[in-house]
Point group: C2
Chain length 238, copies 2
DNA sequence: AGATTAGTATGACCGCCAGTCACAAGACAT
DNA sequence: ATGTCTTGTGACTGGCGGTCATACTAATCT
């Protein structure tokens, strides 16, 4: 549940239409298709996630991936159009695998908005250790690709809201815990921005030592989380 | 003065030493060198800034750049080691060209911390139109390269603090406008994170339409800035 | 000045890899 | 079987980052 990039998502309908370089050539609507084909597609995406996670975006070689999969390189391009297209699918899958804010257990949920945040901040440290691959891919997508891909990624985050920030903020407002005197899209954006960066700062050392400054030890992390929540409460709390 | 990435900058001394892939091979200390050489280096960096700004990182071709400059391709690699090394220099130059928070005029400065922020938020819209090149390069560096380069960039932002966020926050605390009950590195980080993203959201449409959601018209931007400052005040104000 | 050395410039060349495409192999229908 | 359509394949290409042997220039020495 690393926060997303749903920045000020008003008017999201009026995008300039851009050449869709990243579209796949085969199977544009993956919903309805031969199940065999669909399965192969999924296999490729899974392997790609791992490959990108291990090597990074640029160092990842499509041919290695195809060899490892026992699939011809051409097939991968047939399915995903380009390396960027493949990465985008891997990124989507990675991000969709994360829990939503509202996926927190009921006994946490009833404690309210900021306790839910605390729950996830603490939990993510463990989650990332159990299954670092999607986190690394998400990190790559957030910082380590190029702008055209980043554009697609933002579009995805914006339309899909995979962390459920909007609904989460709505809950907070309904409970009277989150301020309602500012545009709620701004609230959501602030939440997304700060959560994303804060978690990056906490976690990235393991995913990518040196990218962000050292996080303190686990002990100190707890204190940091407290302070962070204090600040965030000041920002968007009531 | 787009905010930087000085995330939680404690313990910044204990970086794991990584192979310095991005170092230039010639003239590692550009301070003291033949003035001719130095001038050439500067010429290349200038042209590179423009080139990267126009084409993006990946689409930029070193050979095109060298042709445009009337300089051999080999020379560029001699000076900067790699495409990434060249970009890093261009990025540094771009970011260094931005004003610091405390560069605001005295009559603004005496109005206090949050008025200084407002001043820059309003001003940047104009600045970016007058001279979009460094902003685009900064944007590329923030989102459009790969992780190894991003790592170097973060290291730079962290050690150099080119926007002077730390000093600015110190001023705010001294004036009693900024909270002192949390670790000031957290305050600085929050400031950096939110300012960066907020400005991206306001500005990016012109630099890179489609990357971030449409900003509203200028009228609405002013209202957004008000709300943003309100929220930011809640976060780090006293 | 001429000779020697160190620093700088050059562009043909190389290796690598994303992306293509002509062809092969299945799948399915008739 | 025969034909048609879909899916799979991997040798091949184009283009670019990066190298390096060589040429040139400037500085230093005799």
């Amino acid at each position: 549940m690393t926060a997303s990039t749903n920045d000020l998502r008003s008017k999201q309908d009026v995008f300039k239409q851009r050449p869709a370089i990243l579209e796949s050539s085969i199977l544009d609507r993956p919903g309805r298709a031969a199940p065999r084909t669909e399965a192969k597609r999924a296999r490729i995406v899974d392997a790609a996630m791992q490959h990108f996670a291990e090597h990074g975006y640029h160092a990842a070689r499509i041919e290695d991936l195809s060899a490892q999969l026992g699939v011809a390189k051409g097939s991968i391009f047939q399915y995903f159009g380009s390396k960027g297209g493949l990465f985008l699918e891997a990124y989507k899958k990675a991000v969709r695998s994360f829990p939503t804010y509202l996926d927190s257990p009921p006994q946490i949920r009833e404690k309210g908005f900021f306790e839910i945040l605390r729950y996830w901040l603490l939990k993510t440290e463990r989650l990332v250790r159990e299954d670092w691959i999607p986190y690394r891919v998400a990190l790559l997508g957030n910082y380590g690709v190029d702008l055209s891909l980043k554009r697609e990624i933002n579009r995805f985050l914006q339309t899909e809201d995979p962390y459920g920030s909007a609904a989460f903020v709505r809950l907070g407002i309904a409970r009277g815990e989150v301020r309602s005197d500012v545009d709620s899209t701004l609230t959501v954006s602030i939440l997304d921005w700060t959560m994303e960066r804060f978690q990056d700062a906490l976690l990235t050392e393991e995913l990518d030592p040196g990218l962000f400054p050292h996080p303190a030890d686990a002990q100190k992390n707890k204190a940091r989380i407290d302070q962070f929540l204090l600040v965030l409460h000041g920002a968007i709390g009531v």
